[in-house]
Structures are given as structure tokens and as C-alpha cells.
């Protein structure tokens, strides 16, 4: 276990983005974006490709200068951190190494610059499962190995904040499972995690909080569970809709007919609806809970305005 990864939470907010706008020529990549990342949870940073996720992360990491606004880590801009590698670890893209340098030497160049002991390099290689490939040129690595090398680089300084841009790209199912468990444990020790993705199914199981952006703007920041809780959860089909509507409304249950022949019921559970229908002598052909996926919510949130 990493010595510095104690259970003491770091200060909150771990990351603060305030009024950040980034324009490239006439194109606005990020538009007056404001959000905060707390320690102790995994925050998913969601949006379609081109929504401005990567640009935002690069602004947070001091690689890109915002046109307006500011981004801080534990209250400081990235460039003012005393020990950047010991504060934040970031995985931004798969290819971030010289292909003619071996994996171990890649990590050693970073460790040297960040004043991290060389012994830590071998520890990290072990942790990300690259010990056997450590002395091979990184150009020969598979996509998954490249991701793990990048993650290794991020972990070198034993940071308390992790920023990962689409980390699941190229990882096999075991790798994704490993990463999910790793990030959950990491966050549970009072650390902060910001993970971007356009693949939402993996986020539903990984993240606690979600920040959804589209065309550079914040669309929603909420707990993942809250995002999936939407009205119209139960679908009922009956040949006598009026009788059922009356029975449900008498019992204070919201119901609407959407014109597709089915009733959409919110605020009740399937068992209660079935029981009420039985007591009102209304036949029921279908009684199903519609499981709202994160994809549905996401599409709903990001496709409201025409592009």
C-alpha cells in the first residue's frame, strides 16, 4: 500500500474550474464553465466527443491557457503547485512517450525531473503490471500496455488527485475492472478522481458524481443516481385506461397517457399498481418498469438544442 495514501481527505474542492472559456480563433471550445470536484468520490466528466472535455482537463493541468476564467488545484494554479507530481497524476492520451525509450526509462526520466526515488519506478511498474515488459521499447507495447504505462507515470508521485481522460480506451475487460476497483479504493481514501468518458455504461458503475458538458457548456452536475431517476418509470397497458387512471389518481399516484396506448406511471411501484388494478377489476396486459439508462439521460441532456 502506498505510504502517503492515508485515509485523511484532502482539502475540498480538490479541483475548481471557475468561469473558464477557451476560444481557438472563432471556435469556442469551452464556454463559461464552472464546477468543483470534491475528494472522496469518483467524478465522471461526461460529454459527446468534441464537447470540450479534453480542453478543460488540459486547462486544469496548466497545459492550455484559458481565454477567460481560472482553474485551480487545491486552490492553486497547476503551475504554482510545490510538488505537482505529488499532488496530481494525469493520464491524458495513450501516446505520450518516445517509442524508442523503454518503459522503465520513460518513468525514470519523469521520476528524475520530479525528484522521485528510482525505487518508486519499479514499484509502479509492478503495480500496473508492466514489470516483465519494463525493458522493452515502449513503441512495441499494445494499446492496453500503453495505457498502463501512462497510468504508471501518473501514479509515480503518489498523488492525491487523479485526472484521467478516456482511460478505458484500449483496456481489456479485466483491465477496466482493475481500474474501476483501483479508482474506487483511491477515492475512498479521501482522494479525488476526475474521469472523462463518452462511453456512459462504464461510468454508471464507476462514478459517484457526474458532470455533463456539451459544446463547452455545463449541462448538469449531479450524483449519478439522481441522473437516472426520471419520471415515467413504470409502463402499464390496459384495455380500460380511464378506469385505471381514476383508480391510481384516487390513491395519489401520478399517471399520464402518452397516446401510444400505454400509461406511464411515476411515484408508485409495480406491486402497488398491480394490486390497485386488481381491486378496481381492471385487466392489465403489461406492467413493466422502464429502466432508464444513463445513455438515455445523457442523450436527453445533450440533444435538447439543435447543433
Amino acid at each position: 500500500m502506498d505510504a502517503t495514501l492515508t485515509g485523511t481527505p484532502i482539502a475540498s474542492p480538490a479541483i475548481a474550474v471557475r468561469g473558464v472559456t477557451k476560444r481557438y480563433g472563432g471556435v469556442t471550445a469551452v464556454d463559461d464553465l464552472t464546477f468543483e470536484i470534491r475528494p472522496g468520490v469518483v467524478t465522471g466528466f461526461l460529454g459527446p466527443n468534441g464537447a470540450g472535455k479534453t480542453t478543460t482537463l488540459r486547462i486544469v493541468l496548466g497545459l492550455v491557457t484559458p481565454t477567460e476564467g481560472s482553474a485551480t488545484i487545491l486552490g492553486l494554479p497547476y503551475g504554482s503547485l510545490d510538488d505537482p507530481a505529488g499532488t496530481v497524476g494525469a493520464v491524458l492520451e495513450t501516446q505520450s512517450f518516445n517509442p524508442l525509450r523503454n518503459g522503465r526509462n520513460h518513468l525514470r526520466t519523469i521520476a528524475t525531473a520530479a525528484r522521485i526515488p528510482m525505487a518508486r519506478v519499479d514499484e509502479v511498474l509492478e503495480q500496473v503490471g508492466l514489470t516483465a515488459a519494463a525493458r522493452r521499447n515502449a513503441g512495441t507495447y499494445s494499446l492496453g500496455m500503453r495505457q498502463r504505462l501512462a497510468l504508471g507515470a501518473a501514479l509515480l508521485g503518489e498523488p492525491r488527485i487523479l485526472i484521467l481522460d478516456e482511460p478505458a480506451n484500449g483496456l481489456d475487460p479485466q483491465g477496466i475492472r482493475w481500474l474501476r476497483r483501483f479508482l474506487r479504493d483511491f477515492a475512498a481514501r479521501g482522494n479525488a478522481v476526475l474521469v472523462s468518458s463518452h462511453v456512459l455504461t462504464e461510468m454508471a458503475e464507476l462514478a459517484d458524481e457526474a458532470i455533463v458538458i456539451d459544446r463547452g457548456r455545463l449541462v448538469r452536475q449531479a450524483p449519478i443516481t439522481e441522473l437516472t431517476r426520471t419520471p415515467g418509470d413504470i409502463v402499464v397497458r390496459t384495455p380500460e385506461p380511464d378506469a385505471l387512471i381514476a383508480a391510481l389518481r384516487t390513491n395519489g399516484i401520478e399517471v399520464s397517457a402518452n397516446g401510444d396506448g400505454a400509461l406511464h406511471v411515476s411515484g408508485g411501484d409495480a406491486a402497488r399498481i398491480g394490486t390497485l388494478a386488481f381491486e378496481a377489476c381492471v385487466p392489465v396486459f403489461e406492467l413493466s418498469e422502464r429502466h432508464t439508462t444513463l445513455e438515455d439521460v445523457f442523450l436527453e441532456l445533450t440533444e435538447e438544442a439543435p447543433r
Binding site: 479534453t54 496548466g62 503551475g79 505537482p84 507530481a85 512517450f97 517509442p99 525509450r101 528524475t112 525531473a113
Partner: protein
């Protein structure tokens, strides 16, 4: 700064690229030495070692390799994306630049020593075979090597700044080669008075490849140093707020 300098040195020594430059330079210098001496015209049996013509091969070729080594310092990082972990580990961009200038200087000196050693190791036995009287002055030899090493340090710094400004490896290397090999000579033909102050001519003056039209060695050193400072300063200015994406 020290940590970053050591990191940059580690980068230089952990890929084949720098060694390939050294081997390539040694091969060219070695072949050039053989060609100059076996041709006969380049041998003066009574001249001391420091005045033998084969050394001119070292003095004219080595600075070009130091320039290439300097250029690659940043262009490799932009090309492979490793600039991102570099700047995440050390967001002080000015310090990264300074460390790269320092590491490239060390690399340039290594190239200078390697080229001189190769040429001497091949040239001396060949000269002896041609009836050379085997005289030399340690002080004069030291001055020749010292000027060469000063030139490689300045050329490598010019390269670092140039690579940072251009970023694109092929463009930077091709541009530098075209200017050094052909461009400067063509412009010099048209503007002979100004051409003495061009970097290639100033560099030749510094290493003592003097023709009548060149500056003195001291003036060459000052002019070449001015180019190095301008190149690094331009790179620094561009780097300060440039977006890395």
C-alpha cells in the same frame, strides 16, 4: 533546475537517437579523414598535428550534428507527445528550456570529443605512414579543440531554440540543413559583406576555418553566441503561453 537537467540528460542517454548521431558523425569524420590523407594533397609532413588538413573535416561537420542534436531536444517531445508528462512533472517551462539547453550542450561536447578522437585515432597512423614528422603543440591543439567545443555548445543551443520555435521535426531539421548546406552560401554570394555575420560563417570563424572574408575567431564567437541567445529567447517567448494540445 538540477533535477530537470538530470532528467534531460537521462532522456539523451536512453534512446538510440543520440548514439546514432554520434556514430553517424564518427563515420563521416572517419571517412573524411581517410579521404583527405590518402589523397596526398592534404598532408604536410613538416606541419604540426594541429595544422593538419584532416582536422578541418571535424571542424566543419561537427557543428552541424550539434545543431541537429539541439533541434531534436524539443521536436522529439512534440512529435511523440512526451512533452505532456515533461510539463506535468515540471510546469516551469523556462526551467525545462534551460535544462534542455544545458543537456544539449553536454551532448554537443560529447559529439565534439567523439569526432576529434575518431579523426585523430584514424588520422595519426595514416599521417605517420605518409612520412609525417609527428610534431604538435599541446597548447595549440587544446585551443583547436576548445574552440570546437565552444562552437558545438552554441550550435546545440541554437538548435534547442529553433526546435522549440518550429516544433515540427522534419521542418526544423530540413530547414536547418538547407540553410547550412546551401542557403547561406547562395545568399553569401549575393551579399558578401553581410554574409560574414551569418551563423554558418560566424561558426566557421569561431572554429578557425578562416578564409579571408570571415570574421576573427573572437568576433565569430560573439556573433554565434548572439544567434544562440536570440534563438533560445525566441523559443522561451513562444513557449511561455503556448497551448500544448
Amino acid at each position: 533546475m538540477t533535477a530537470q537537467f538530470l532528467s534531460e540528460l537521462r532522456k539523451l542517454t536512453t534512446t538510440r537517437s543520440a548514439y546514432a548521431l554520434l556514430v553517424g558523425l564518427a563515420a563521416i569524420v572517419g571517412l573524411g579523414t581517410i579521404a583527405v590523407i590518402t589523397d596526398g594533397s592534404g598532408v604536410n609532413p613538416s606541419a604540426p598535428l594541429e595544422h593538419q588538413a584532416f582536422l578541418n573535416v571535424v571542424l566543419s561537420i561537427t557543428p552541424l550534428f550539434a545543431l541537429l542534436l539541439g533541434i531534436r531536444s524539443f521536436t522529439d517531445e512534440f512529435r511523440f507527445g512526451s512533452i505532456v508528462p515533461t510539463l506535468l512533472a515540471n510546469p516551469q517551462r523556462g526551467r525545462v528550456l534551460g535544462a534542455k539547453v544545458g543537456a544539449a550542450a553536454v551532448g554537443g561536447i560529447a559529439l565534439g570529443i567523439g569526432a576529434t578522437a575518431t579523426a585523430t585515432a584514424i588520422g595519426v597512423p595514416l599521417l605517420l605512414g605518409e612520412g609525417w614528422e609527428a610534431t604538435w603543440s599541446a597548447a595549440a591543439l587544446g585551443e583547436v579543440v576548445g574552440r570546437l567545443l565552444a562552437a558545438t555548445v552554441l550550435w546545440s543551443a541554437i538548435g534547442v531554440g529553433l526546435g522549440l520555435a518550429v516544433r515540427h521535426q522534419v521542418a526544423a531539421v530540413a530547414g536547418a540543413l538547407v540553410w547550412m548546406v546551401a542557403g547561406e552560401g547562395i545568399v553569401a554570394g549575393m551579399l558578401p559583406d553581410v554574409a560574414r555575420y551569418f551563423p554558418g560563417s560566424a561558426g566557421y570563424a569561431l572554429v578557425g576555418l578562416s578564409e579571408g572574408t570571415l570574421l576573427t575567431a573572437g568576433a565569430g564567437a560573439i556573433v554565434l553566441a548572439a544567434y544562440a541567445i536570440a534563438s533560445v529567447a525566441t523559443g522561451a517567448r513562444l513557449m511561455r503561453r503556448r497551448d500544448i494540445d
